[in-house]
């Protein structure tokens, strides 16, 4: 009987969420929607990423980042949130850690907003509805693959 080990491992690939050393990338998800947070969480964990924390508004997001740093590799940031919106939270996180890797996730694809976020230091921008492939691609790019 032929078993899996007999074939070369061309089709197998390592899950994207794992670093070279085998540990998962740690992600902080900031979004006020339980549904979106769940969706992002599912996409990420299915590829081996680890969601270390979730925040439901900008203020909470900044606090959690400060607490977790340096044990967080990436932040996904929603733009429209109560208490503190994503752009303001982005500013604060960048001020705290200029090497922070933040990817904006928003339903609003307004050119101005995208430009503003990128200028403030966001590494990338994803417009909802979330497409699994797109999400993984963009996050992968940011994490330097």
């Amino acid at each position: 009987m032929i078993s899996k080990q007999d074939f070369p491992t061309i089709n197998e690939r390592a899950p994207e969420g794992l670093k070279a050393d085998g540990n998962p990338f740690r992600v902080l998800v900031v979004d006020d929607s339980m549904f979106v947070a769940k969706q992002i969480g599912q996409i990420l964990t299915s590829e081996g990423y680890e969601v270390v924390a979730t925040a439901s508004d900008g203020l909470d997001g900044v606090e959690k980042y400060k607490e977790l740093c340096p044990n967080v590799d990436l932040v996904t940031m929603d733009i429209t949130m109560p208490k503190m919106d994503g752009i303001t939270a982005l500013e604060q996180i960048m001020a705290f850690d200029k090497n922070a890797r933040v990817v904006m996730i928003s339903a609003l694809g307004k050119e101005e907003l995208v430009k503003k976020a990128l200028l403030l230091g966001a590494k990338n921008y994803i417009v909802k509805p979330l497409d699994r492939k797109k999400v993984l691609e963009r996050i992968g790019t940011v994490l330097g693959k």
Binding site: S33, M34, F35, T80, A107, L108, G109, E111, P129
Partner: protein
């Protein structure tokens, strides 16, 4: 309602519903409504601000809401719990946001407020004598009405 605002909402509703629900989406005939609006059971309301003031309501009955939430979560939800509510709210957000983005590209500066979700029997949403555009959308999960009332800041 200003003519230029109509298409962005119609298109956004069609696009988003097609993308997240799958299945055939059919748009019904648009019409204007003036009196206070009875709500079918579940209504998500997104506020609009900026060059205009107004709101968008996504109206559907509970059965449709449950089916849509289940479809979007790719699992059968049994209760209209926090997750289901967040899902419907997100749908409202997606449609309104896409419409606002299109309007932005046309030169109109709108912003949207975080959505609010209302559920209940025999509810009515009364805006003080505001005229609303109704865009009925038929989905495989049931009927969703997009109810838009916008006024230019004069």
């Amino acid at each position: 309602m200003r003519v230029e605002y109509i298409n962005p909402f119609v298109e956004a509703a069609y696009n988003i519903l097609t993308e997240v629900l799958g299945g055939q989406i059919k748009r019904g005939e648009l019409y204007l409504k003036s009196t206070s609006m009875p709500v079918m059971g579940v209504a998500a309301l997104v506020g609009l601000a900026g060059d205009v003031e107004g709101r968008v309501i996504f109206d559907m009955n509970m059965d449709t809401a449950m089916k849509i939430a289940s479809q979007m979560n790719q699992e059968e939800l049994k209760l209209f719990d926090d997750l289901a509510k967040a899902t419907i709210t997100e749908l409202a957000n997606l449609i309104t946001a896409q419409a606002v983005t299109k309007l932005h590209d046309l030169g109109f500066r709108f912003d949207l407020t975080p959505p609010a979700l209302f559920t209940g029997e025999n509810m009515e949403i009364s805006d003080h004598e505001v005229e609303a555009l109704i865009v009925p959308m038929e989905t495989s999960q049931g009927r969703v009405e997009v109810n838009v009332a916008i006024r230019d800041r004069m």
